[in-house]
């Protein structure tokens, strides 16, 4: 996931380094640092905006580590779902418990089914569905689709996924 964080640094040397250390310590990937020297706060601190990628599990550790170093966090904005994907399912979708299929994706914590369109032509004939999946990153989208394919295999459903270059995995 990608996190945008506004922090406040005391105007003494070494503060920025102190603030960025937890990000790398917990294997986060720093994307940008914007120093607002000109916008000193009434408290005399300097506002800095930091954007980084991290595993969702590590965000809390990063936050507490910052708090331990006495760095003020003014705002955290986590944009969780960055990637959007679509898949089509064909087969006995409802009979094989569509809710369970969706729950399995939603329970991953990194992807979510955000839209479902179902088309059932005739009783006993296979139906078709389009699923929209949002995920934290391209890799997570790809694993959500892999997971969906595993479930579909057990339920004898056909999964039609986007071409590889569309999934950006090339």
């Amino acid at each position: 996931m990608r996190v945008s964080m506004d922090i406040e640094l005391k105007d003494i040397p070494g503060q920025l380094l102190l603030a960025l250390r937890p990000v790398s310590e917990f294997k986060g990937n720093l994307i940008s640092v914007v120093h607002h020297h000109e916008k000193r706060t009434p408290r005399g601190t300097i506002p800095v905006n930091v954007v980084f990628e991290t595993k969702p599990d590590n965000l809390n550790s990063i936050i507490s580590s910052l708090e331990d170093s006495d760095i003020g966090i003014a705002r955290i904005d986590e944009k969780r779902y960055f990637e959007h994907g679509a898949v089509i399912l064909i087969g006995h979708i409802v009979h094989t418990d569509i809710q369970d299929t969706i729950d399995t994706i939603d329970n991953t914590g990194y992807a979510e089914v955000v839209d479902l369109n179902l088309s059932m032509p005739k009783i006993k004939k296979p139906s078709s569905a389009s699923l929209k999946i949002d995920a934290v990153s391209k890799e997570h989208l790809a694993s959500a689709i892999e997971l969906l394919k595993e479930i579909a295999k057990k339920k004898d459903l056909l999964v039609i996924e986007p071409i590889k270059s569309e999934l950006g995995a090339v």
């Binding site: 679509a86 898949v87 089509i88 064909i90 087969g91 369109n117 088309s119 032509p121 296979p126 139906s127 078709s128 569905a129 389009s130 929209k132 056909l158 039609i160 996924e161 986007p162 071409i163 590889k164 270059s165 569309e166 090339v170």
Partner: protein, 331 residues
């Protein structure tokens, strides 16, 4: 002028196409200094042999009216073994279970040091490594552009034109029959069975369509690609395959509403060889309609390169064979 004596083994749609393009391109071939002299032709039952060059127009017309190429009883294999010539054009039917007549023909050609150009996928999808080794051992030239995309250049593009690039992924549509059926299902909102029947009526699909619609034909082409371009030693058993028979018109509609078309996509990279129906964005270069084929290669230096063209047809496939023939003998 360099004279190349050749045999055409298999005289159906493609074999006859080869005879026609050799006739049609006489002037051009003369200009580049190559005289392709056909000294023998075989179909499944008969043969015609003439050291001074077979009269191609006469054989084409005889095949049409009498169903045979000649009155000699020599088999294709015997021609390759006993008649003196430089090049075998192998266009017998594809068989991926036994390799068909083609497999023996190819080994025989290499045993006698003859060069070989073919459109026959079966032997290559079964025994690629052994065939290449046999050709190398005897110093025979061995080209098979027509096996992968008909007129659409894929193998030669990867090997010659894109030389120096590392190709990391190939994705594409390699079966015109499937593309035709899926395109028509979407246009007419019609079920698979109905559009298969239409394709059969128009001659786009065989009476037994299994080989095409179950993705086996695409799988064989991918195996050849994987071996030739990615240096693998795969057979068609290494390919995971899903065909198009379960696709519904509703699925095509839902996909369309989301901005996609559904195509039978073949994919090769270092980690897998896969055939499956996939979602292709409507504005993507792979979203070609009708019975067209298309291939997109990811390269390290040039980025994506996409080619599209006719994947089958008598003259189209013969054009790929002619191009291989010329590239062997042009200085």
């Amino acid at each position: 002028m360099k004279t190349i004596r050749l045999s055409i083994i298999g005289f159906g749609a493609v074999g006859q196409g080869v005879a026609k393009v050799i006739l049609d391109k006489q002037v051009y071939l003369e200009k580049i200094g190559i005289d392709f002299k056909v000294v023998a032709i075989a179909d499944s039952r008969t043969a015609v042999i003439d050291e001074d060059g077979v009269d191609l127009a006469a054989v084409i017309s005889r095949k049409k009216t009498e169903g045979t190429v000649g009155s000699e009883k020599l088999t294709g294999l015997e021609i390759i073994e006993t008649i003196d010539h430089e090049l075998v054009v192998e266009t017998t039917p594809t068989n991926i279970v036994t390799g068909g007549a083609g497999l023996g023909n190819m080994f025989m050609a290499f045993k006698h040091g003859r060069d070989l150009v073919t459109s026959n996928k079966g032997p290559l999808a079964m025994k690629y490594g052994e065939l290449i080794a046999a050709a190398e051992a005897s110093g025979s030239k061995f080209l098979f552009e027509a096996t992968v995309g008909g007129a659409m250049p894929v193998l030669n593009l990867a090997r010659d034109v894109l030389a120096g690039n590392k190709i990391t992924n190939v994705e594409g549509i390699f079966n015109g029959t499937c593309n035709y059926i899926l395109t028509r299902m979407m246009e007419e909102h019609a079920p698979y069975e109905q559009m298969l029947a239409e394709a059969q009526e128009l001659g786009y699909a065989e009476t037994d369509p299994t080989y095409d619609v179950e993705g086996i034909d695409t799988a064989c082409k991918l195996v050849i690609l994987a071996n030739c371009v990615f240096g693998m030693n795969a057979t068609h058993e290494d390919v995971t395959v899903t065909g198009i028979t379960k696709i519904t018109p509703e699925a095509l509609m839902l996909a369309q509403n989301d901005g996609y078309v559904i195509k039978l996509i073949g994919e090769v990279n270092d980690s897998r060889i896969n055939v499956a129906p996939k979602l292709v964005p409507i504005d993507h270069p792979l979203a070609v309609g009708g019975s067209l084929n298309v291939a997109s290669m990811q390269t390290d230096l040039s980025g994506p390169i996409t080619v599209t063209g006719r994947g089958a047809g008598s003259i189209e496939t013969a054009s790929a064979i002619l191009s291989d023939m010329i590239s062997i003998y042009r200085d």
